[in-house]
């Protein structure tokens, strides 16, 4: 298993895919936090919950990009055909999927740490620049960064699972992005009555895990545990799909 994990980690760092995703994520985090931090009216940024919402853009985008890196770890192999030599050398396909899950989880955690730290830095700077009192304490920051890293790590695992089931790269990437950027927004947003269910959607659980929107979302620990269950379910589905279907 360790050999397989080292192989997967080498695959992930030997192309520019992850570097590109990382750079795009940091760029979008900067943009989103600046737009919210500088663009919203001061009375919309007064409370701790408001400020967490702005800084939480780091967690949200980290979850999205970690999910993408997870899906790419398997769909890129299928797209370019490297899945064939991979499975010839390692015919235990379940072990390959497991190694992809662990490698993506590790790198996803790194994405989460970087995005949340950057979001916190830029967000605080933007608030101070406007003379708005920062209502957050050390515990809030710690939860934001640690919870964000955990959420991104788990979303990376979800991405591997979805990629292994769907196999085709473009639909997987579009589907994951559409879910996080659009569908979940509707589920947790202003549509009356839906939020009760929507807060158990995986994107909302990731936000909860990093302490965002405590009035609507579940408690951070609950968010983490439930998101971990999603990750286990997705990875298991990917494992079953990969071990039971012919290799394309």
């Amino acid at each position: 298993m360790r050999a397989q994990l080292r192989s997967e980690l080498l695959k992930q760092r030997s192309t520019r895919t992850n570097l590109g995703l990382f750079a795009a994520m940091l760029g979008l985090v900067s943009l989103a936090v600046l737009l919210h931090g500088l663009g919203l009216a001061a009375e919309q940024l007064g409370s701790a919950s408001d400020q967490l919402m702005v800084l939480g853009r780091g967690e949200f985008l980290a979850a999205l990009f970690a999910a993408l890196l997870g899906t790419m770890s398997i769909t890129a192999e299928i797209r370019h055909g490297t899945i064939r030599p991979t499975f010839l050398v390692s015919p235990g396909r379940g072990r390959v999927v497991a190694a992809k899950v662990w490698a993506s989880t590790l790198i996803g955690a790194g994405f989460g740490l970087a995005a949340c730290a950057l979001a916190a830095g830029i967000g605080i700077a933007a608030l101070r620049l406007r003379g708005i009192d920062v209502q957050l304490d050390g515990g809030d920051y710690a939860l934001l960064v640690a919870g964000g890293a955990a959420a991104a790590a788990l979303w990376a695992a979800i991405g591997v699972g979805i990629g292994a089931v769907v196999r085709s790269q473009v639909p997987t990437v579009v589907g994951v992005a559409a879910w996080l950027l659009f569908v979940e927004g509707l589920l947790v947003g202003d549509v009356a009555g839906v939020a009760n269910v929507g807060r158990f959607a995986p994107g909302a659980l990731g936000m909860a895990a990093s302490g965002q929107d405590p009035d609507t979302l579940v408690a951070p620990a609950v968010g983490f545990v439930l998101l971990a269950l999603y990750a286990v379910a997705a990875a298991a589905a990917g494992w079953v799909a990969t071990t039971h279907r012919d290799v394309v």
Partner: protein, 262 residues
């Protein structure tokens, strides 16, 4: 460019690795029994049976769509048969211990990530197979790609991609090589190198199965042929037997596969 496109004129000697633990000397290297694969209504492989002994180079011939690639995929554990079985060294491929040290295979020459260097492609496979990193440099030298191994694979010519695929198959110093249409895209020098490499490989006791629909590229390389048509084995013969009966490989092939062509 021309230099790197041409394959080296080496006999292909590689440094031996420790032998795999298990020696199932009595099993044929490849044993295929009543192998059948259906995709819905289509029967791609139909009750196919054959076996190969060590030290032989066998051409696996048939028109496009005859079921050659499907058979190889079944043999290599990438697809599951509908019925029957395909064994290598007496085992299902997926149950082989250290498969890279026993079987090397190239199914598609283009199975490369365009953004990854040839060296990293091989290193990732060597790590997974728990082979020493020195093997990567050895096989790169063997196929004469050591000079370009740091470049991203998208810059490689078709011939270089073919040789990188072969290098990956040779990483574990296997005893059986399975190659699907290996000469596609090779220039005459490359075909010549491949031929002498495969003869040398078989001469050292290795077994080779090459699929092809180009008779000319096979006729000078193989000891025996298996001809399949529409998923069924229609002939199996040694080339010297054909010659002694005054038949050519082309006559036999065309006669047996005429139904598929019409």
């Amino acid at each position: 460019m021309a230099r790197t496109d041409a394959l080296p004129k080496s006999d292909g000697g590689t440094r031996p690795l420790p032998a795999p633990k298990e020696g199932s000397a009595r099993d044929p290297v490849i044993g295929v029994r009543s192998l059948t694969k259906r995709y819905g209504e289509i029967t791609a492989v139909d009750e196919l049976s054959f076996s190969l002994e060590a030290g032989t180079v066998t051409g696996f011939l048939g028109p496009n769509g005859a079921g050659k690639t499907t058979t190889l995929r079944l043999l290599l554990g990438l697809a599951e048969p509908t019925s029957g079985e395909a064994l290598v060294f007496g085992h299902h491929y997926r149950a082989l211990d250290e498969p890279a040290r026993r079987v090397g295979a190239v199914l598609e020459s283009n199975d490369l990530h365009p953004g990854r260097s040839g060296r990293d492609h091989l290193r990732a496979l060597a790590l997974a197979a728990e082979l020493p990193p020195s093997r990567v440099e050895e096989v790169l030298e063997l196929v004469e790609l050591d000079g370009v191994a740091g470049r991203r694979a998208r810059t490689y010519s078709l011939g270089m991609r073919q040789r990188l695929g072969l290098a990956a198959a040779l990483l574990g110093d296997p005893k059986l090589l399975v190659l699907d249409e290996p000469a596609n895209g090779l220039d005459p020098e490359g075909v010549h190198w491949l031929r002498s490499f495969l003869r040398g490989f078989a001469g050292r006791g290795g077994t080779v199965l090459i699929s092809s629909h180009v008779l000319a590229e096979v006729a000078q390389t193989v000891d025996q042929v298996l001809i399949i048509d529409r998923g069924r084995l229609v002939a199996s013969a040694r080339l010297d037997e054909l010659a002694s009966r005054g038949e050519t490989l082309e006559d036999t092939y065309l006669e047996l596969t005429a139904g598929g062509a019409s």
